[in-house]
């Protein structure tokens, strides 16, 4: 873990969306560009909210929670429209904020057992303030004169015994690491002996997608497999996964399959659509 580009700041510079799409598709050519919301610069939905809140440029205590919720939901909506992946944490927060929004907008109900919108808003503000406070504290902490960086210990320690009695030292961390790693080592060794290679659906799909691109004519499925399988024990799983994947590809139109009779070899060929265009718009 070398120098992290800490100075670059968290969200980085705003980059126009279309440019990003362009870059992505040119670089990766045929493969479907996998986009994800860059939440890596953010430490979760609360952090994102804090960031949005700061953008309102008011003290957190005076922030418009409703506006904040709106903004967050808008963001999620937009991400959804672009069909990007978003971590579950963010979606849970969205659901909560949508609920909060509804509570804030409807007139206060008496004694329905639920916290009022205002209470929920206050709770959110509390959590944001608390996070901001800890964030500031962390910054102050890390900027202190730190041992080994700004302040130094004796460079040439002499022989002094600090503890009078215990001749051996170990930390709880040492102990737990030792325990966990040895148990893990044993447990995982055991598992691997029993484990058989399994083709995942995704693996099979990748293989098939690669293969059908090259085959304009009917070919037996088995022939593909043999080509790719080195070990006979993987055969069953490979056939099963590949078959499932092939059905999926047929549905998408990138593959056609044919079988003369039960248990006969399965033939397949390239479908009418190119696999690259799997990203359909229907």
């Amino acid at each position: 873990m070398a120098e992290q580009g800490q100075a670059a700041g968290k969200a980085g510079k705003p980059i126009p969306m279309d440019k990003l799409w362009a870059e992505e598709s040119s670089e990766h050519g045929v493969s479907e560009p996998v986009l994800a919301v860059d939440v890596e610069g953010f430490e979760g939905p609360l952090d994102l909210l804090l960031h949005l809140a700061r953008n309102q440029k008011v003290d957190l205590a005076r922030i418009s929670v409703l506006a904040l919720a709106e903004q967050y939901l808008q963001f999620i909506e937009r991400v959804r429209q672009m069909r990007l992946e978003l971590a579950a944490d963010y979606l849970v927060m969205a659901a909560w904020l949508a609920y909060l929004k509804s509570r804030l907008l409807i007139p206060k109900q008496r004694a329905d057992g639920e916290p009022s919108g205002e209470e929920m808003a206050a709770l959110l503000q509390f959590r944001l303030k608390r996070l901001e406070a800890i964030r500031d504290a962390a910054a102050r902490l890390v900027n202190r004169n730190r041992l080994g960086r700004d302040v130094f210990a004796r460079g040439m320690p002499e022989h002094v015994v600090v503890e009078k009695k215990s001749t051996y030292t170990a930390t709880l961390y040492d102990l737990l690491t030792a325990y966990a790693s040895q148990r893990q080592r044993r447990a995982i060794t055991n598992v691997q002996i029993a484990k058989r290679g399994v083709w995942s659906l995704k693996q099979a799909r990748d293989v098939l997608t690669r293969l059908v691109g090259e085959l304009p004519d009917w070919t037996a499925l088995d022939r593909f497999l043999v080509q790719y399988l080195t070990r006979p024990e993987e055969r069953a799983t490979a056939i099963a996964s590949t078959f499932a994947a092939s059905l999926e590809l047929v549905r998408e139109g990138t593959l056609e399959i044919r079988q003369q009779e039960p248990f006969a070899p399965i033939y397949m060929r390239r479908g009418t659509k190119r696999p690259e265009t799997a990203e359909t718009t229907s």
């Binding site: 309102q56 205002e118 902490l141 202190r144 080994g148 700004d150 210990a153 002094v160 600090v162």
Partner: protein, 244 residues
């Protein structure tokens, strides 16, 4: 006496000669004990506990008084005596960091997440993992807590006496030493945070519930309306190659 201004740290001496009147061992003995304590602490790269000092020094010595006196001796020197909880250590003076930094061992930089988690643990201790996640509003990524434990700044303290008996985390003496803190109370801003109720796990009852504006759709005077562009400006949307 003005001439002695060239020997900064010892100027203080003259002001403290009154310490001779201190009750206890004779002044010579006190000075000798100071030398002994000085040697013991100076020799060690890690903080030396008061207990260890009292084991080594003659009986009946007021360790605290000796160390306070020593601390004053070194107050303005290039090397200072610092206290870390109930232990003592010599450290180079903080204002000389510029001079020393060339020697700095390249330290592994804490990630933002790790630093934030460290702060949560320091300020909220004893704190469980679930509480850390609650405060940060995010699941703890694998390896972050592990990394903090590995630095030796964070330790498992015990278990919370609640259902499930979750393990509680706290900081270590090395943490204090590393960040130049005498004790946890010296954490920057901790009193204010506590006073503001920001160190409690629940929203304190005195935390003001703000009055919602009469018309929540109306922006207050110091608010700007949000535009669609804002989100893009935040730089939130970037491509990521699948692989995790």
């Amino acid at each position: 006496m003005t001439e002695s201004s060239n020997v900064i740290p010892f100027v203080a001496e003259d002001e403290r000669t009154s310490s001779v009147e201190r009750p206890g061992p004779s002044s010579m003995a006190f000075a000798e004990v100071k030398r002994m304590a000085e040697a013991l602490v100076f020799a060690s790269a890690t903080p030396v506990s008061s207990k260890m000092l009292s084991d080594r020094l003659p009986d009946g010595v007021d360790i605290r008084a000796v160390m306070e006196d020593l601390r004053k001796d070194y107050e303005k020197r290039g090397v200072n005596l610092v206290r870390v909880e109930e232990s003592w250590a010599f450290r180079t003076a903080g204002d000389l960091a510029f001079l020393m930094s060339r020697d700095a061992v390249q330290q592994r930089k804490l990630s933002r997440a790790a630093l934030e988690m460290l702060a949560v643990i320091a300020y909220h201790q004893p704190v469980t993992r679930a509480e850390i996640e609650e405060i940060r509003g995010v699941e703890t990524s694998k390896g972050t807590l592990d990394l903090l434990l590995e630095t030796g700044w964070v330790r498992m303290r015990g278990r919370r006496r609640t259902p499930g008996r979750p393990v509680t985390y706290g900081t270590t003496t090395e943490f204090l030493d590393h960040f130049g803190l005498e004790e946890l109370r010296d954490l920057p801003g901790i009193e204010e945070l506590k006073g503001a109720g920001l160190l409690s796990s629940r929203m304190p009852s005195n935390f003001s519930v703000p009055q919602p504006p009469a018309d929540p759709e109306t922006l207050t005077d110091d608010e700007d309306p949000l535009t669609d562009i804002d989100l893009e400006e935040l730089g939130l949307l970037t491509p990521r190659v699948e692989g995790d």
